[in-house]
């Protein structure tokens, strides 16, 4: 069994780094346009702004790519971000017992929120894998309830804080590159490696490609599905921490609001099949960059954010249509 799985088939196991040519062309055109017509585009500051803004979307979208590759979807990512983002300030604000020691407080304030978001992923995964509930409905539950939990935790209030360690998570730099950009790149690389070179990655694609066949081939389909939702939850938790770290404040009403759409859009534009069976992690990164650059370009040229929404809608449709014709 292991042998057959490791032998790439003609369609089911594609090249991991392949990005749809349309998406690459779009990215290049956007870059060229900006180089010619946008002032100060070619500066480190512009690069940093765009990369920082895109990093949370990419981190969430990587998890979403894995979920979608199994034929699922996760609508709850924004709410899980809110839970994690609301939880962290409560922990390092506590300053009691062991939490009063800065290092321990910081570690707990990072680990616990991510764990909480992962528990959300466990619920999603259990509903989908064990109870065979359609992913849209299963994750709709936490989409609704998760943000409520975050709001109840904070009573809907804005939490502001000043915490050197957390500020570094959001604004710190390593060799001039923002820390979260490095984190994003590391996550993309690890995820791409998982999809390309591990049995787990192959299991994900097999599950999404033909679940029945995968089951018959002895692949632990239920556990694979559970795992992708947990991974997606954990990455959402991490993204929630980054968002509050950038602002040094947490607003449970706003953290991650609408990010599920951005993430799904990035996945779709990046060439991952929305029906499952094909994952393009690097494509997702390119997709997120395109969506971010479109918004930046329109804003830099005085087009309101609202119009950018309409443009984004058009881009997703065109991307999915081209992807469909390709097949």
């Amino acid at each position: 069994m292991t042998l057959t799985l490791k032998t790439p088939g003609p369609r089911s196991l594609p090249k991991w780094a392949k990005v749809p040519s349309g998406a690459l062309l779009g990215l290049v055109l956007l870059l060229l346009f900006n180089l010619c017509f946008t002032d100060h585009f070619l500066s480190l500051q512009t690069l940093n702004i765009n990369m920082t803004q895109v990093s949370t979307i990419v981190i969430v979208a990587v998890g979403m790519t894995m979920v979608i590759a199994t034929g699922g979807i996760d609508l709850s990512v924004g709410s899980l971000m809110a839970i994690s983002g609301a939880l962290a300030p409560l922990i390092f604000g506590a300053r009691t017992g062991l939490l009063a020691i800065p290092a321990i407080g910081m570690i707990v304030a990072i680990v616990l929120p991510i764990l909480a978001a992962s528990v959300g992923g466990v619920l999603n995964g259990t509903l989908v894998a064990r109870f065979r509930i359609q992913p849209i409905v299963a994750t709709l539950i936490l989409f609704i309830a998760g943000r409520g939990v975050a709001q109840v935790l904070t009573n809907g209030n804005l939490q502001t804080f000043s915490h050197a360690g957390f500020r570094w998570l959001g604004l710190g730099k390593v060799l001039g590159i923002p820390f979260q950009v490095l984190l994003m790149l590391a996550i993309v690389l690890v995820a791409a490696w998982v999809m390309r070179s591990t049995l787990f990655g192959r299991y994900i694609l097999a599950t999404g490609g033909n679940e029945r066949a995968a089951r018959l081939a002895g692949i632990p389909v239920q556990r694979v599905k559970l795992a992708v939702y947990v991974i997606c939850g954990a990455l959402s938790g991490l993204a929630g921490l980054l968002v509050i770290a950038i602002n040094s404040s947490a607003d449970a009403n706003l953290i991650g609001l609408g990010i599920e759409l951005d993430a799904i859009a990035a996945v779709a534009v990046g060439g991952t099949l929305l029906t499952g069976g094909r994952a393009r992690i690097v494509g997702t990164l390119v997709g997120a960059l395109i969506i971010q650059l479109v918004r930046y370009t329109l804003l830099a040229h005085g087009v309101p954010d609202a119009a950018a929404l309409v443009v984004k809608a058009g881009i997703i449709l065109v991307a999915v249509y081209l992807q469909k014709r390709e097949n």
């Binding site: 409520g148 950018a308 309409v310």
Partner: protein, 343 residues
């Protein structure tokens, strides 16, 4: 709509849908009618626990407010029964609320028509792209969700638009007719028309046939694309109407409202026992689903009023979510039993 479908095609659709109707076991009955039982239990609970729960004021304001969700849920139910989904209804309603608020000084008819028309237009775009370009409904309506939100913000200039209070426009949402709120009349009419359409027309049969097996329905010569197009058109127009009511009831067109309405509508349809894979469903259960979700919030308010507990409005979404979880788990279990029972 039904006249446009050839008679023989209608009979074929009926023949196709008939076995679904015959194979009903008690599990199926429990799954589809359980929501009604829950609704009755919740009403009894409320009526015995709180004064004024069944008072005219509470009942009428509950109906006035939830009629918007009812209208959207009717359209959503039809779309879901074809096996599709419409995520664009919430922001379509927001767009319609802005357009009707902008036109509200011109009387009642023009803003009403413009709001419903804008919704219908979004629905037509959804339907055309889904049936012609064959892109997943989920993606198409996600895109129109974004586009409608963007258009609403553009038209409104990023802020809410006050309506005119002199033109009679506010009567649509705030007025009464024969002692019953006008929005509730509209909602009731939509549910009755929807129920008749689903159960007694070739259109309704074709909707169920498409959801049951689209390829088979196509091979039988049913007008699959046209019927799918019409369900999205209907969903969009009803969302537009809900948006007009929103603007009229609260005195403002609100470009940022409606976010999450689509999920409320989906939840109501699911709570009502309709499976998201299509092929079956009931308009009556959808109504029960809407009322059930609305009642939860209502009861929460009463409970706070008694002063025994003090739950913030944020608990509303938590409780709704937990409720949805319980319903979904029960339905999964019942569907399994139904399957084992061979029906």
């Amino acid at each position: 709509m039904s006249e446009s479908i050839p008679m023989n095609a209608g009979h074929l659709a009926q023949a196709l849908a008939a076995p679904i109707a015959r194979k009903r076991s008690r599990w199926h009955l429990l799954r589809t009618q359980g929501v009604l039982v829950a609704l009755v239990l919740l009403i009894i609970f409320g009526a015995t626990r709180y004064d004024n729960f069944l008072g005219a004021y509470n009942v009428l304001s509950l109906l006035r407010y939830n009629s918007m969700f009812g209208l959207i849920a009717v359209g959503m139910a039809f779309v879901i029964m074809t096996g599709g989904i419409d995520l664009s209804v919430g922001t379509t309603a927001a767009l319609a609320s802005v357009i009707s608020a902008l036109l509200s000084p011109r009387g009642v008819v023009l803003p009403l028509a413009a709001g419903v028309g804008a919704g219908a237009l979004i629905g037509m775009i959804n339907g055309l792209i889904i049936t012609r370009l064959k892109i997943l409904p989920f993606i198409v309506t996600l895109c129109t969700f974004l586009a409608a939100h963007g258009l609403a913000l553009l038209f409104a200039g990023n802020q809410s638009v006050s309506v005119s209070w002199d033109s009679g426009f506010t009567e649509i949402g705030q007025g009464d007719f024969l002692g019953f709120p006008i929005p509730a009349w509209m909602g009731a009419l939509a549910f009755i028309a929807g129920g008749l359409l689903l159960n007694f027309s070739a259109f309704g049969r074709t909707v169920l046939a498409i959801g049951g097996n689209e390829e088979a329905a196509r091979l039988m010569g049913l007008p699959v694309d046209r019927v799918k197009f019409l369900t999205y058109l209907m969903s969009g127009a009803l969302a537009g109407l809900a948006g007009v009511i929103l603007a009229s009831q609260f005195g403002a067109g609100q470009p940022n409202e409606g976010n999450g309405w689509e999920l409320f509508a989906i939840a109501a349809v699911v709570v009502g026992g309709t499976r998201l894979t299509g092929g079956e469903g009931s308009i009556g259960s959808t109504l029960s689903g809407v009322l059930l979700l609305g009642l939860i919030f209502n009861i929460l308010n009463f409970e706070n009023g008694k002063g025994v507990i003090s739950l913030s409005a944020y608990w509303q979404s938590v409780i709704r979510g937990v409720f949805l979880l319980i319903v979904v788990l029960l339905q999964a279990r019942l569907a399994q039993k139904e399957h084992e029972a061979g029906g």
